[in-house]
């Protein structure tokens, strides 16, 4: 597969066009649904875990391997730790879920998204960050777990004066 130049691709997606470019990529495999991702049940236990590793284990029951096929888009310096725009897009086939973790938050797991067949493996959301931290995106694809990590700097918010 030809390497994708992500930034123009993302820009196209921002404009609401160009998504067709991705659609061939996401839906190969049979999408072996992992127990957690396929169920409608809220993963209470995973959200209660403190560390990123424990949260990933609680959510998926195994650990993830880093993948170049995940593009994690996050600012270098968050303008405000309360609202940090974070997005992920992947060219991995057979995606069934995408999750976001903020390692240094009191509870690392921030959000987990179920991606049924027919849904594009791309999510953008806004998360809170207590302090400078790694942000981890987990992609579950064809029953395997992949990850991408980026550090986002958070300066102390406000002055309380």
């Amino acid at each position: 597969m030809a390497p994708l130049d992500f930034s123009p691709l993302r820009r196209l997606i921002l404009k609401g066009a160009g998504l067709a470019a991705l659609t061939g990529l996401g839906q190969i495999g049979l999408g072996l649904p992992a127990a957690q991702a396929a169920s409608d049940k809220y993963p209470e236990d995973a959200f209660k875990q403190k560390s990123d590793a424990d949260a990933i284990k609680a959510l998926y029951g195994r650990s993830a391997d880093a993948s170049e096929q995940i593009k994690l888009d996050a600012p270098e310096i968050a303008e405000n730790g309360g609202v940090v725009p974070i997005a992920v897009i992947t060219t991995l086939p057979g995606v069934t879920s995408i999750s976001f973790l903020v390692s240094e938050n009191p509870n690392a797991l921030a959000a987990s998204y179920v991606i049924p067949e027919g849904t594009v493996p791309s999510v953008a959301n806004r998360l809170k960050m207590a302090k400078t931290s790694n942000v981890i995106a987990i992609v579950e694809a064809n029953g395997k777990l992949y990850s991408a990590t980026r550090e986002v700097k958070v300066t102390v918010g406000g002055c309380g004066g």
Binding site: P75, N80, G82, G157, C159
Partner: protein, 288 residues
């Protein structure tokens, strides 16, 4: 121990004040105020200081001068956080008062597309009337209670009125009335006067250091700073009006804020808006 810290901070502030006072050139004769020349000098200063920023882009505050922040902002603007306030404001604006009249009856052109004309100098009253003040006066004239000036309903209403005026250049007039010129001059004096224990003026941050970070914040340039009002500030986790911006700026420099819509703040808004004449209204805005 706390006493020592305070003591030394007093001395620091004092030392600073003495330094400034003694470094002053001898008082020159008070030149007659010339608002048009002021506005030109003001604009020229920012254009020269930030040659890469397009004039109209100054209304986007810190986002005009920081690429990483601008990207986060563009992301936010896809579904802006002021959306709820804007919709609420639109609904409030359209809802008649108990007496059957509405906000539209209080404003030229039914209040649509007029934000760029505020504040205006009211020659009857002899004072500056801001949009926030005009809205509350409209309410009171129609038997309704005034709103808090700093957030919530007032922010929603001004958000909607700004939205209907987006793109229209600030068009603040100083009528041929000595009181209007005096109000302008007083606003200018307030803007440049150091206050608070930190001994900062508005200009210290927003003229001398825009684009720089102070604590966690990137400072906005004074040019165009009111064009984006009201704003959703992530730091506030909500909307705030011009009144909120002024009062929080004062307390951040450890000054006791004046009451919203006091003469000083009205004059300050008059001055700051006037020197941004020609720059487009961009409110409501989103800020860190």
């Amino acid at each position: 121990m706390r006493a020592c810290a305070l003591f030394s901070s007093v001395l620091t502030a004092l030392g600073f004040a003495v330094f400034v006072a003694t470094a002053l050139p001898p008082a020159r004769a008070a030149d007659a105020p010339d608002p048009a020349a002021d506005a030109k000098a003001f604009r020229d200063y920012f254009v020269k200081k930030f040659p890469k920023v397009k004039l109209d882009d100054f209304v986007n505050g810190p986002y005009s001068m920081n690429e990483d922040m601008r990207k986060q902002w563009e992301e936010k603007e896809q579904f802006p956080p002021y959306e709820f306030a804007l919709e609420a404001g639109k609904e409030m604006f359209a809802t008649p008062f108990k007496n059957g009249k509405s906000y539209a009856d209080c404003f030229a052109n039914g209040g649509i597309g007029v934000r760029q004309n505020y504040p205006m100098f009211d020659e009857k009253e002899g004072k500056v009337v801001t949009l926030e003040l005009a809205l509350n006066r409209c309410r009171e004239a129609n038997g309704e209670k005034p709103y808090s000036y700093v957030k919530d309903e007032m922010a929603s209403l001004t958000a909607y009125m700004a939205f209907t005026s987006r793109g229209k250049p600030f068009d603040i007039k100083i009528p041929a009335d000595p009181r209007a010129l005096e109000a302008y001059q007083e606003g200018k004096r307030y803007f440049y006067t150091r206050r608070g224990q930190l001994n900062f003026s508005c200009a210290t941050c927003h003229v001398q250091s825009p684009g720089e970070r102070i604590r966690a914040e990137t400072l906005a340039p004074a040019l165009g700073i009111l064009n984006a009002m009201p704003i959703y500030r992530s730091e506030w986790s909500g909307m705030g009006t011009i009144s909120r911006r002024f009062t929080t700026c004062n307390s951040q420099i450890r000054g006791v804020p004046l009451e919203p819509q006091s003469d000083e703040y009205r004059n300050l808004e008059y001055y700051l808006s006037y020197v941004s004449n020609g720059l487009p209204i961009s409110g409501p805005g989103a800020r860190p």
